[in-house]
């Protein structure tokens, strides 16, 4: 066990996969000498060489498109997209090629590619640096989407993702890069990659969140506790495929569900969870599933992002509203 930031945990996880498998390579803009704009790949080019830690030309389609070719040649590419807002030039390669290759080849081809994307807001950045594009990927059959909320999960999940045989969008909650936590080096202790987890038990209402909003939700649960409400918090961890069993179980117990995410409300993941939970737990729900999300606007100027982003108060308010039914 050791204590480190999420950023460092990701760096350690990447180092481990590079160590374990010579076919694993890293590609991205500025990931070499610079170590990435968030230093997630710090030192890796120095230790593994520029053939395995590749500073890519400035073209996202190129990064993903060549990664596909490398995977077809037997490599296991881990691509970094510098910021959430810059993944879209690669969208064609991701949705029409990466997501479908296994399917269209009737299983003959596999593309074990991990795409790391720092995502989400709250860091006071300029435009295109604070977005939450997960819905685009979750809706795309053939992709898997995961996001850690703690250093321990970051360390484990990056390794599990890279060694998985499916293409995985690995969303890194950039505002939590500097949060510290304990990591468990031993892979026997890790949760399964595609599993959700109850991170706080409670009986009165359930809050489901992922990535950056898990911390916010836990804070809200603490605040609710001081008001006498016992809120259960679930860290979804995997957004595609969704692991909703823990949510169903929880809702059957609490009768109330609030989903929290930074992405805009309309067709944010909360919509899907609402639909499934309502179908599955129709008779258990005391109130409709409520959503606390970013608004249906482009990401605003950062001086007003605190208003845009879900916070403790908005989560609490939703818990309260849930009790109005």
């Amino acid at each position: 066990m050791s204590t480190m930031t999420m950023g460092k945990a990701l760096n350690s996880g990447l180092r481990t996969v590079l160590d374990n498998d010579p076919k694993t390579i890293l590609m991205g803009q500025d990931i070499g000498k610079l170590g990435g704009v968030f230093r997630i790949t710090d030192g890796l080019q120095k230790d593994f060489g520029s053939a395995r830690v590749v500073d890519a030309p400035l073209g996202e389609a190129g990064i993903i498109g060549t990664a596909i070719g490398l995977a077809l040649r037997g490599f296991r590419p881990v691509c970094e997209i510098q910021f959430d807002g810059f993944v879209f030039p690669a969208f064609d390669q991701i949705t029409t090629m990466l997501a479908k290759m296994h399917y269209r080849s009737a299983g003959k081809l596999r593309l074990p590619i991990t795409i790391r994307i720092p995502y989400g807001g709250g860091i006071g950045a300029v435009e295109h640096h604070s977005e939450s594009p997960e819905s685009y990927f979750i809706h795309t059959a053939g992709l898997k989407v995961v996001t850690p909320s703690t250093p321990a999960d970051a360390f484990a999940m990056i390794q599990q993702s890279v060694t998985s045989d499916d293409p995985i969008i690995f969303l890194e909650p950039k505002r939590r890069y500097w949060d510290k936590g304990e990591i468990v080096e031993d892979s026997n202790d890790w949760s399964a990659l595609h599993s959700a987890r109850v991170v706080r038990e409670g009986t009165d209402a359930t809050v489901a969140a992922y990535g950056p909003m898990v911390k916010t939700s836990l804070q809200a649960a603490d605040a609710a506790a001081s008001e006498g409400r016992n809120v259960e918090v679930i860290d979804l961890r995997t957004l595609a495929p969704l692991d909703l069993e823990p949510v169903f179980t929880s809702v059957r117990k609490t009768g109330r569900l609030i989903v929290v995410h930074e992405a805009p409300m309309t067709l944010g993941l909360g919509a899907e969870i609402s639909a499934r939970v309502t179908q599955e737990c129709f008779y258990s729900l005391e109130a409709p599933v409520l959503r606390v999300t970013g608004f249906d606007t482009p990401y605003p100027a950062a001086r007003v992002e605190e208003t845009y982003l879900p916070d403790l108060d908005r989560v609490l308010d939703a818990v309260d509203r849930s009790f109005d039914y």
């Binding site: 390579i25 053939a51 030309p57 073209g59 389609a61 190129g62 993903i64 498109g65 060549t66 990664a67 596909i68 070719g69 490398l70 995977a71 077809l72 040649r73 037997g74 490599f75 030039p89 064609d92 390669q93 029409t96 090629m97 479908k100 296994h102 399917y103 269209r104 080849s105 009737a106 299983g107 003959k108 081809l109 596999r110 074990p112 059959a141 053939g142 898997k144 998985s164 045989d165 499916d166 595609h194 495929p241 969704l242 692991d243 909703l244």
Partner: protein, 365 residues
């Protein structure tokens, strides 16, 4: 479009022309083999078009007119080389030993790509214009990482693309990457003068072979209706790649004599006279004249090839008609290599739904 030197080894009437940099070194058997390839694939292509007309294929993209470019390129490939095709590389597939019925199956819409790329060192067809050029570039980068270049037995990769494709951002990024990483790769661009209805001047005002040097990649234009020149130029570029000397870009100047696909109506956008002019440069009659003039083959040989091509086409037709439709539930297969529980549940629920009809039908008996 301005002028650009075009490599030729055969004149349109089948005279052998000589070129300072390129030549071929075939024995008689090999010369005849190329003729067989050309005729086999043209006949097959005609059969596929017929199958579509008869409702047996959803669509067909004919290669008519582009046989020499494709057979030249396809035969230049060594077994260890890897090819990334568009949706029209039937001639290349043939050279790579792909069962042509597996080419038909995608157009019959019973699958999305049938052959095993590893078995033939030929990737599946790609329909989204240009995307495969980046895959080819990455593959070639991987070859270099594997150290599988630097000798005459090195591995080269070939990316096929059309003239229209050169306008896609993805293709230009492939040129960027191939140039920067000196990928052991050959871009083989069949300029068949059209992207569906758009003549090449909708994509560029200068020759396409001139695109590549700006990315640090040598560009060359070859007469794509000349199978010998197409072979020679491709072979040289592949050898460059396998020796570790970097990427090349070939513009094979040719003509799509038929429709873009069976859904297309070329009379809407081009004159019959233009088509006629290109018929005079037909890749097969030109090559046949060459063989005849040089005593490499006689009528008997030609008849025998025609018969073989006929038999092959009919066999492909028969096998095509026998292709089974996919099982309904198979549409849930192979979405993920490692599975997805929610999807399995979706499949199971749907299977139960389908079963409910079986029950009803059963009950109705």
């Amino acid at each position: 479009m301005s002028e650009f030197e075009m490599v030729q080894l055969l004149s349109p009437t089948g005279e052998r022309v000589h070129h300072g940099d390129y030549d071929v070194d075939f024995n008689d058997e090999e010369y005849r083999g190329l003729y067989r390839d050309l005729v086999m694939i043209r006949r097959f292509d005609a059969e596929a078009t017929a199958l579509q007309r008869q409702g047996e294929l959803g669509l067909w993209a004919p290669l008519l007119g582009q046989e020499a470019a494709q057979i030249g390129a396809g035969r230049a490939l060594a077994p260890q080389d890897m090819a990334f095709p568009t949706y029209r590389e039937h001639g290349v597939a043939f050279c790579r030993g792909v069962d042509l019925v597996q080419v038909l199956s995608m157009f019959r819409c019973v699958d999305l790509g049938a052959w095993n790329p590893a078995e033939h060192n030929m990737h599946l067809y790609t329909i989204v214009i240009g995307d495969q050029t980046l895959h080819a570039t990455g593959y070639a980068m991987g070859v270099a990482k594997d150290g599988a270049i630097g000798s005459a037995s090195g591995t080269a990769t070939m990316a096929f693309l059309g003239d229209g494709a050169t306008s896609e951002g993805a293709v230009n990024e492939a040129l960027v990457w191939a140039g920067v990483f000196e990928a052991p790769l050959v871009f083989f661009c069949q300029n068949n003068q059209y992207a569906i209805s758009e003549s090449t001047d909708h994509q560029t005002r200068v020759p396409l072979a001139g695109r590549a040097p700006g990315f640090g990649i040598p560009g060359i234009r070859v007469d794509g209706n000349d199978v010998l020149a197409s072979y020679a130029v491709t072979k040289a570029a592949l050898d460059r790649a396998r020796m570790g000397e970097g990427p090349s870009f070939i513009e094979a100047f040719t003509y799509r004599m038929g429709a873009h696909t069976t859904s297309d109506d070329p009379t809407r956008y081009r004159e019959g006279s233009e088509v006629d002019a290109w018929k005079a440069k037909d890749p097969i009659s030109r090559y046949r004249a060459f063989l005849t003039n040089n005593g490499l083959a006689d009528e008997d040989f030609f008849d025998q090839i025609d018969a073989e091509a006929e038999a092959n086409a009919i066999a492909a037709r028969t096998a095509c008609l026998a292709l089974p439709d996919p099982a309904p539930l198979s549409l849930f297969d192979n979405v993920y290599a490692n599975g997805s529980p929610p999807l399995e549940r979706q499949r199971d629920e749907f299977a139960a739904y389908l079963d409910s009809f079986a029950d009803t039908e059963e009950a109705a008996k």
